[in-house]
């Protein structure tokens, strides 16, 4: 019997970032083996805050840096580390909801919007929305991808 293929964590992530063939499948296979599956949010009890891909594509094309993206998204802590963006299908995410002040919790960076606006908006004016918890493995379909924003 052949031994199962072994992967180094760093290689898995590198392959995913570089979009190599089979990378999503391999990464998902490894993630699915974990006893406590990782979620898109910090835990299974937290909502997921997401941004439409086209909005981030536009910002990426302007060579925005990781710390600038953090500021624009209202993410904390404000560090100088790279940001990893995970792209996944809307079909997986399920219904999307407009965030409100209660959902935002105790974040003064949260800016509520007028009711006529369909999406929420981050402090940096980027569209945002929320959806219910999803595991990373669920979202790693063939359309999924990862991108690194450098610091």
């Amino acid at each position: 019997m052949d031994a199962p293929q072994q992967f180094e964590p760093g290689d898995l992530l590198d392959d995913l970032i570089e979009g190599r063939e089979g990378a999503v499948r391999n990464f998902r296979a490894v993630v699915e083996l974990r006893e406590n599956p990782p979620y898109l949010s910090a835990s299974p009890e937290r909502l997921v805050w997401a941004v439409p891909s086209e909005d981030l594509d536009e910002l990426f094309s302007t060579d925005m840096k990781a710390h600038e993206l953090r500021l624009a998204l209202g993410l904390e802590p404000l560090t100088d580390e790279d940001v990893i963006e995970m792209r996944y299908s809307t079909a997986i995410a399920g219904p999307f909801y407009k965030p409100s002040a209660v959902v935002a919790g105790i974040s003064a960076r949260f800016r509520y919007t007028e009711v006529e606006e369909e999406f929420g908006k981050t402090i940096g004016g980027i569209r945002e929305m929320i959806h219910l918890p999803r595991t990373v493995a669920e979202c790693l379909t063939e359309e999924a991808g990862v991108r690194v924003w450098s610091s």
Binding site: V51, I84, R87, Y88, A93, V102, A108, Y112, L132
Partner: protein, 233 residues
């Protein structure tokens, strides 16, 4: 009564009180037709309704019965005529409707009086906050009103957060109601806690106890155009 006459009469009726009360709307001619809804506002003549789904059977001029849930579940059902199921202007994935009461005016009068009793909402509170405030008891209002004013007086982030909560037009009454329930519990457990500490703790508890379930009633986004993907960072 024609729709035009109904609208004219509605303009003349006493102002409606914003409320947040869960109910079940049932057809009087067919027991199997029912839908969960919320009362949005109320006076002694009728109510405004919010529903999260369309119901083909719920037609204009249909005779319906409304049964109360949650803290008003002991009230007898009321019956009357359903009006105008239509997309709510700012909540396109919801349906709003009106209800003219035939039987049960006393019940609506009692609810209106209950919701008006006690401290009024903080002065800059808008509709969503008022909906949640209306269904708080007099004791809860006495406990919470100083908390909101203390937050506003602190200035800075505290005042901004309080302002957002009081005036956010996207906040559902259900979320604010649950948040205030948690705030009352925390304040009762520790009367020495500062307003900011109460709010911080309340958000933490609210997130665990209510946030995911409350999302089901939030305003949906019709994200169908443009990219097929969205991104989490």
């Amino acid at each position: 009564m024609s729709t035009a006459s109904y609208k004219e009469e509605r303009r003349k009726t006493p102002e409606r009180i914003p409320v947040w009360i869960e109910v079940v709307v049932m057809s009087l001619s067919n027991d199997t037709n029912s839908i969960i809804a919320e009362l949005r506002d109320v006076n002694c003549d009728g109510v405004g309704l919010i529903m999260w789904n369309s119901a083909d059977w719920l037609k204009d001029n249909l005779n319906v019965k409304i049964e109360f849930s949650s803290q008003f579940s002991s009230k007898d059902p009321i019956s009357g005529t359903f009006r105008e199921q239509s997309p709510s202007k700012y909540w396109p994935n919801f349906r709003s409707g009106g209800f003219c009461v035939d039987s049960g005016k006393e019940c609506l009068q009692e609810i209106t009086e209950t919701c008006c009793a006690g401290e009024s909402a903080p002065e800059d509170a808008l509709f969503a906050f008022q909906r949640a405030w209306s269904v708080r008891s007099k004791e809860d209002r006495c406990l919470l009103k100083p908390v909101w004013y203390e937050l506003k007086a602190l200035g800075g982030d505290a005042a901004q957060i309080a302002h957002n909560l009081l005036t956010d037009p996207n906040c559902g009454g259900h979320r604010l109601n649950n948040l205030m329930t948690v705030m009352v519990e925390i304040r009762n457990q520790n009367s020495e806690m500062s307003a900011m500490e109460v709010l911080e703790k309340a958000f933490e508890v609210y997130r665990l106890q209510h946030s995911l379930v409350d999302t089901q009633k939030d305003r949906l986004i019709e994200y169908e155009l443009g990219s097929v993907s969205l991104t989490s960072v």
